[in-house]
Subunit: 459 residues, 2 copies
């Protein structure tokens, strides 16, 4: 019975470092096994580059590969890149095909070429082909390790083959065997259950499921996910445009990919552009990645704030307004980002299509009016009570109300428009939204104030 | 071969409404089957309450249940709540146990009681028990439909049972059978593969895997996810504290739960408190949920901006500062939120534990110093160039630099501290962070300005 891992007395990474120094493979292996799930990753991310390399070099290649497959991808990439290339290549060779392809796309160009050079030509070629497919497509998610039989075999042949290779096959995740024509075109699927309940002399062709559901290499992740939601299958065969069987995409790989994407959304939303950062990465790399987005943002901020600069005269006449400018900017951003988040989720669930921005505008306008009225009244009330000037309350309240309507409408529509333009809504929605709402918010407050200046300056 | 769904000429929901009015079950069934994955949900979310009810009432219960199981949960809840209770209960009865339990926790109290009253007492009790487990625990994720055999049976008995109930069992997702003692304590697991390759006269006990990996009902989702990452199993048996078999949690259910949680994170982060909103929900419900967070936020904003109010004199002496206040507020928020997002992801991946906030502070301080220096220099430069006053540049630049260090350190640590206090970091991190960084940012700018006033007022 496996219970939640308790806090260890000593930090596991210190213990690991000690064991590696001792050089006992058995002990290392047993210690890694004994750690609760997730803990090996946490321990490795605490170590120096040399200590990490020490762990991988001490383990047999196959076990090192297994360890890497369980780690967050960015951490696995880091670990491999710090190994001597021969060592890296021989561990890499033990990773399963799709895992190889995923890592390959993350390596530096140079590292990738060097590792491929050390692999068997056939294996290197296979990985190269897999890595060509867009990552979040059926082609990019499929594995090339699966069971495949020619349609003219008998059930007995299949059972013999299963028995002879049971060791090898047991590492294949998928629970079906696929049947192909001599030209390797997909013609059917075999369930183990059916093999079990039939005469061994029958032809495979007679017990297979004909014309099975299959997907093309180009099918996108979201489509694939919805397809798995609708059928009970654990894996789907992937074919090229001529119905040749190319690989298998498993339910759990598709789900893991969706999940990885979802877990990166928040990082992208806050401007960590690749959606990847671990604190074990080098400081300057992390800093540079964060800055690349922040520096665009500071430009946009200066642009938005230039609206205030144009209206300095109004502002110096009614200095109290300066208190409300950051509030209006922040609150409009918050209201707008709620709409962005709802749109991004509805896009991911397939409940809204990118061309439906008018429907979204309509649905958001209602919320904008209600919430704008409430928030505007609240902030206007605060302004009125503070200075005892009803016009100040009116200016501030009306500006926030109006800007809230604008912000939720824009926030709802921007992700759809970005998706239509094939841009990633997670990265670009926020900066576009807040720049526009800041500019408009400042403009509303300061131009309303200019118009009503005679009533305001009595303050 | 299933390709990505193309845009339909007519909107599917209009066609669905027409078919329901026609009243032809067959046609409805075929039309639903013909829609690309995800499209039924999109169509239903476009309809009025009555039209939605029409679809479910026309379908046979079993098919209505199947349809509901494929929809986003919030949408399914909406649909059921709009049905007459008898109809709702008879469709609900056809949903699989865990799905029932999940829906049950979402219904209004009244609706839940009414539906349970219409179920068979045994079934109602089963659902009630399942719904008691925390949703994101093994108990809350397990299903109670699975294959279980007594340890004293022979292989032949199992095969006979499988053959006799093949129809019923084919709807069970999990790929193993479980073996229990007469007291229903878990003693082993049977693989179909082993049943297939052995003599039918053998005892089940002799071919089962002894002492299989199992988890307790209390195991949390993240732990469970990591356990699945580490083993190749498709499902894990769930036991109570006395090793009684309670249910099975499948890999794909655990992954789906992780994924749902991740997809809700962004909504929570932007203040949609329950992490749930679909645009098909009623306007006032959506508006109220968003407002509940916004109204806390506006209070915090007023609190933060009060710092500006205290320093009005300084501000009216150097009105140019008013341009920089919103920039400093926004940029510090952005820098801090990046750190929040990295911390939340590292927590979810198990790479950092809640008690490690000092390590996070240390790791973030470095980034804060580098990024603070760069951003401070940039904004200071803009201020200097604009007014030609080096002291203005220094005040603005130093304030942003200092506040960036503060923001990233706080942003990194807050999610860990909230997690330690058993609060949801997704909801509370943002408001806490921005309130503190706004206050400090305003305070830095305005108090630096007060000190250097003689050099600034020459502007």
């Amino acid at each position: 019975m496996i219970d939640s891992g308790n806090v260890k007395e000593t930090e596991p990474w210190r213990e690991l470092v000690d064991i590696v120094q001792g050089g006992d493979v058995e002990e290392l292996d047993q210690y890694l096994e004994s750690l609760p799930p997730g803990e090996p990753g946490r321990a490795l991310s605490r170590m120096t580059d040399e200590e990490q390399a020490g762990v991988l070099e001490l383990l047999p290649d196959e076990e090192a590969a297994e360890l890497l497959e369980k780690l967050p991808e960015e951490l696995a990439v880091q670990l491999i890149e710090h190994l001597p290339v021969e060592e890296a290549a021989s561990i890499f060779g033990e990773i399963e095909s799709r895992g190889q392809a995923e890592l390959l796309t993350r390596f530096d160009e140079e590292e990738a070429v060097a590792i491929l050079d050390h692999l068997e030509p056939e294996e290197a070629n296979n990985v190269r082909v897999l890595a060509e497919f867009p990552r979040d497509s059926a082609g990019g998610l499929m594995v090339t390790e699966y069971l495949v039989y020619q349609e003219d075999l008998r059930v007995k042949d299949v059972l013999d083959d299963l028995r002879d290779h049971s060791e090898e096959y047991s590492s294949y995740g998928v629970q079906y065997a696929y049947v192909v024509s001599p030209a390797r075109q997909l013609v059917g699927v075999l369930r183990f259950r059916d093999l079990l309940l039939t005469s061994q002399q029958k032809a495979v062709r007679s017990i297979m499921i004909d014309a099975p559901i299959c997907v093309t290499t180009a099918m996108g992740l979201e489509e694939l996910k919805r397809l798995f939601d609708e059928c009970a299958l654990q894996g789907l065969p992937v074919v090229d445009d001529h119905n040749h069987l190319m690989g298998i995409v498993s339910r759990s790989d598709a789900e893991r990919a969706i999940q990885r994407r979802a877990s990166q959304t928040l990082l992208k939303f806050t401007g960590i552009v690749g959606g990847e950062e671990l604190r074990s990465m080098p400081l300057l790399l992390r800093s540079r990645r964060r800055l690349s987005w922040l520096s665009v943002n500071i430009l946009l901020n200066v642009l938005a704030a230039s609206v205030i600069a144009w209206h300095q005269d109004t502002l110096s006449s009614v200095i109290a307004l300066a208190v409300f400018l950051p509030i209006i900017s922040d609150m409009s951003g918050c209201s707008g980002n709620q709409a962005v988040a709802v749109s991004m989720r509805e896009l991911a669930l397939g409940l809204v299509k990118p061309y439906e921005h008018l429907r979204v505008l309509w649905k958001e306008a209602g919320i904008g009016i209600v919430n704008g009225a409430v928030l505007g009244a609240a902030l206007g009330g605060v302004a009125f009570l503070w200075k005892g000037n009803p016009m100040l309350g009116l200016v501030v309240g009306a500006a926030l109300a109006l800007n809230t309507v604008l912000a939720v409408c824009l926030g709802g529509a921007i992700p759809l428009l970005l998706r239509r333009a094939n841009q990633d809504p997670a990265i670009a929605s926020g900066p576009i939204l807040t720049t526009v709402t800041d500019m408009c918010g400042f403009l509303f407050v300061l131009s309303f104030a200019r118009i009503t200046l005679p009533w305001l300056v009595t303050t």
